[in-house]
Symmetry: D2
Subunit: 401 residues, 4 copies
């Protein structure tokens, strides 16, 4: 042990190389000890993880020193009336923000008592958009023209890299001599970013070879990955999914201690007019909260909360009540790959009945997306209700501190 620490100190052994010489558990321990000494701090709790890490150090996290533990609360039962998700679900939420689980739980209760929420997937495709340099505008046009007329050729190149993925779309856009090619793939049960990146590399190669376009970057930000971007609102990225539920005036009064008209007014002035005046791309109350908590619990990429935050919440007056909905234009999720295989995360996916590959392929990821959308709807209902009843501040005082 001391020997490794010595070598790390001298620089003759690199921190990231410990796994080359030690079994994962030991490598992580030595690394953590080294960091503890270097910084004079204790990392004992970080080191007392209970998950298996053999695959983790290879697939999920380099330079591992331990694990952080995020409390998981459960909201539900939540009645979902989807195409893929049907029935009652308990939703696992990994969060440290007091009041969040309670809030979602209240929304679940309303939805379930109302007979469940409808939810449908409207679009499905993970994207990557390499950027190329053209010589000039004429060349940019030639490149775009070539792409349009060689779609099949590009698809073949891209799909050769994967047994699951299928190219489902290709669009071009230019900014002067920068040519962006947005490739879209059906990635089945995977969130698909890695698959798509690898496939796009091949597609880019084909385009470059044929047209003389100079590949500048495999990701040209028109993808758009993990940045708030209108292109994802307009064209979708990941799963585009929407959920809605009809609530009666009575149910609204009973559960949310407010009335339908107030709920509509809160949504109008806050989520629509307020977001408009803020120059916002998100027209919702707290979609990001629910998505973040579900993503962390279920081993999703938490930076994709950015895409998820582009949600729009609407409330329509209907006879005797209201129809409340949320639309998520861009929800990148998967039930295989990423952090989905880690012990605790896998259990959370299992709790929802969506762990691993679906049958047919893609069915699990779609079911998962449907559940998320309804959980987001529950969060919207609850926060709008709380604002309507003006007890948000009180809730913070009691639970949040």
């Amino acid at each position: 042990m001391e020997d490794y620490l010595e070598r790390l100190k001298k620089g003759s052994l690199k921190l990231y190389a410990l796994e080359d010489e030690l079994v994962p558990g030991d490598a992580v321990r030595v690394r953590r000890m080294y960091i503890e000494r270097e910084t004079g701090t204790s990392l004992q709790k970080l080191g007392s993880y209970t998950i298996a890490i053999d695959r983790v150090v290879q697939k999920n996290c380099e330079n591992m020193i331990g694990a952080v533990q995020v409390p998981v609360g459960v909201a539900g039962p939540l009645l979902v009336q989807g195409e893929f998700a049907k029935g009652l679900f308990y939703v696992p939420l990994a969060t440290t923000e007091g009041a969040l689980v309670a809030s979602v739980n209240r929304g679940c209760s309303a939805i379930t008592r109302a007979g469940g929420a409808d939810v449908r997937i409207f679009r499905d495709g993970m994207t990557r958009a390499p950027v190329f340099a053209a010589r000039d505008i004429s060349h940019a046009r030639e490149i775009c023209d070539w792409i349009v007329s060689h779609r099949q050729e590009i698809a073949s190149a891209a799909e050769g890299t994967t047994s699951h993925g299928k190219m489902t779309g290709i669009t071009t856009a230019i900014g002067g001599t920068s040519v962006f090619v947005r490739l879209e793939f059906d990635t089945k049960d995977a969130m698909g970013m890695n698959m798509v990146t690898i496939a796009s590399a091949k597609a880019a190669e084909a385009i470059s070879t044929a047209t003389g376009a100079h590949l500048i970057a495999l990701s040209g930000n028109l993808c758009t990955d993990k940045k708030p971007a209108a292109v994802n609102m307009v064209m979708g990225r990941g799963r585009t999914v929407a959920a809605g539920v009809g609530l009666s005036d009575d149910l609204i009064r009973e559960i949310f201690k407010t009335n339908t008209r107030t709920l509509i007014e809160v949504n109008m002035r806050k989520n629509l007019v307020g977001s408009a005046r803020a120059g916002s791309f998100g027209f919702n109350a707290q979609a990001a909260n629910i998505i973040a908590a579900l993503f962390i619990a279920c081993g999703q990429d938490p930076a994709h909360v950015v895409e998820g935050s582009l949600a729009v919440t609407t409330i329509d007056p209907v006879d005797g009540g209201a129809y409340i909905s949320v639309t998520l234009p861009s929800l990148p999720v998967g039930t295989i790959g990423g952090g989905t295989g880690i012990d605790t995360q896998h259990e959370c996916l299992n709790l929802l009945g969506v762990a691993g590959g679906g049958n047919p392929p893609g069915a699990n990821a779609k079911k998962f997306a449907e559940i998320i959308a309804v959980a987001v709807l529950a969060g919207e209902l609850s926060l709008l209700g709380a604002l309507g009843a003006q007890h948000l501040a009180r809730a913070h005082q009691q639970l949040g501190r």
Copy 2:
């Protein structure tokens, strides 16, 4: 035990009420068992957490059933030349996305070898924006006028709710009869959302009483919390912080296997032109990745990754190299409150020397914000370098699957 499960099943005991009758550990265990039975799944790993939960079930997470464990890797040492953060740091990153820690680590190496990165805080203030209904446009004007001329009165009302917070700004905006009042507070070492919400409730009461404005919602989305919004770019929310580093041509070539000119071109075509054409509010490569990983490790609110993703990355050519920077207009962080007190998260903050309240108050949160900005810079450098060297796809193939 069975007795409780029985009562839960019958509905005579509510899931959230278990803590009223049992000590936290038992309450969580019973709840987990109940969910296991209801769903027919095992949650054993979720249940094998090692953190203390007495405060967690009160402050961080209702309906707790266990904890999810997120691997933490370390990047560094990272040399920071801030106003609050000075010296070498090891950065804890909680992530399940392979290649991320390695990527940041490479950027840290470049920064540290270059003599460290400058970093400064440009603005500091957490916001909340209640929305009121006015009777008509004339009334809306009266409300706005009253607010402008009674700033001190509003500040007194707001500050009466907190021993730490101080109101530092107040602006109004209207959308027809909706009047939005954006209140800004210095919240010292707290991220401050709860503090600000409670203070805003009092401010809103004062405004409502004096003007007849009808409070519709304590948060009117002009805050803007957890939605991508231009108002946060333009006016800031949380800490506004920027970091920069000068790299020589040689260092760029050696570490990133590309050259300065290519790095500049990648940044231009991807981060600037690409984001422009995507209608994006984020002009960066992967800021959200680093912020998400640091936020989860350090007990921050992960939904605030949305605000963090509004980063702008620039590269200036300079003699013999380049000056690379990242600007984060809106970074909500704290070293007290939220998830900062949970055992493993607390250790991560400790590792950075920022756990708990600072001396003077606010110093720890500012130091933390500076470190985050430099870590984001490291991530930008590394990804831009990888794209420049066109081995992003290769990296995914080797590490990411």
Copy 3:
């Protein structure tokens, strides 16, 4: 005559230099003849203008060859209940788009019959934002700090260039080493762009001298001039003005052949949800149409239609009817300078009682802004009503072709 044409042909006389040798009318005639010969086209109608051009060729238009004539229709009478504009107005609209005047006229009728529209100005300030290069992030902070603590010094430098303008605001923002300084001025009855640009040059000089900041461009696009930008929505540019009117159910039915509930639904689904899903900064039906027509009629800068298009239209249900409003965050207008002095444009301003400088200074521009806002409201009402009654297509068929 032929002599001049000869010299132009040979290049020994430049097109723009004709005014140096000839009186304006002749210079314009020779130039037009030259262009006619060069292009083999007739420009006779362009040449048959009837406005005086002595000042025009000096102040408004270089290389003048004639004038285009844009038909002006009138809408009204329009009853305005503003702070500066009170009473009945006939609104001149210069347009070639059939149905526009008729549409606005119908809206005017509704407003006037309802007792007029309230309108108020909420903010007033023309902006210019020079961009400077800092050496690094630390330097950028120093520059920003200096500006904050030398506001009076900067104001003095800026105001020395003008007898009317007054600096009313200064804010900074950075993007890496780019430091943007947004200067705001009260420009009284002038739209003020020129005044502000000249004043900003002096302010920039002072900043540069004191801090070593390197001036890159007098306009750094954070102004933001003539580009759709959230900064103008959030902070305002030119006049921020809002107008509203209460309409009874009966009036809505009678004039718009639809009902209140439909009007509300059209506004919700089109102007709010539709604009949200489009990633739009404008939440209105046709604000740009009315602004463009008024701007051209009244000698305003028509490129400022871009700022004007950032309008938000709202409809609140009220007992027995609805309150409809429009908010224009950024309306740059003036009654002196620009094209306001040209004969026909001056008459249009006169028609509204706002030609020339106001008493006190600024009163005319504010009155003008109030009238525009109410005219925009008339346009919104009319188009929403037409959509509600589903006869937009029919209107196009009858009038628009």
Copy 4:
């Protein structure tokens, strides 16, 4: 005469009904006299128009009282190397903003001396997006599904209304129960808004009948017409066109009194970083100025300047100089319909060789779009050059006042 004025005063004759009883010239005269008396102002100059108005009062402007005259200056010769526009052009600019024509003229000079600018059209399609109400989310999905599988049926319904237009695209998007259907048409030489609106009414009818979707508004703002919207950047609206030109270091120095490196830096810090920090959808210097001036001269709809302002300007360093480009994602133009037939406007179109329908149909509008893009490029070059040489303020002082 007095008789008509009397009846107007009493209200027994409506202002808009004058054309029913009088020839256009007399109707306009009586109406003007009436307004003059009502307002106590003289509109003599407005009345001294010289254009023929028989068609104008029917097609372009209701309630006409005269015409406003806008000075037209000429910039050029401008060498264009397009697919449709080839050769030298003199560009007519209708403007009252001093310095604009001079500025564009300088840019034209640079482009022409450099051998002309490349320009290409990348996309072409005018859009209209009706919005429907669905009963719930399931119904929304059914509607979208039906549309996807009945594209031909919808196209037939739409195309039945026009002899020219052809439906080239149809996409759907939802916001809760609001279903937006964005229909795209090739409108040949017409700008096409009216044609598309009429065709969309028929398409909407077909959709509504088959699916039970309830048509709420023929325009649901996802079109997006005359509001700044990302959907137009991402998917295009009207013509998508880009122009570029290579300038040598020498030419830049000679014409713009600055150097290549400075030009690049100005563009970077202002047009890219500045616009990014402003939350702007326009990444250019003054595209709106040139578009507005050309649109007014040539009888286009000036409210479409909003779409035109979404331009992106880029500068690439190349050996011995720079390649400067501008990309206009959304430029709605036509050479027939709208104001294109009015005498003076028609002459301006004629001056560019694009008046009337093209051969083949569409060729004139495309040629026109190409010329506009190159004129915008000229404006960008000139303003960036002026900023680089830091004489913007001086130019304003000399010409602009």
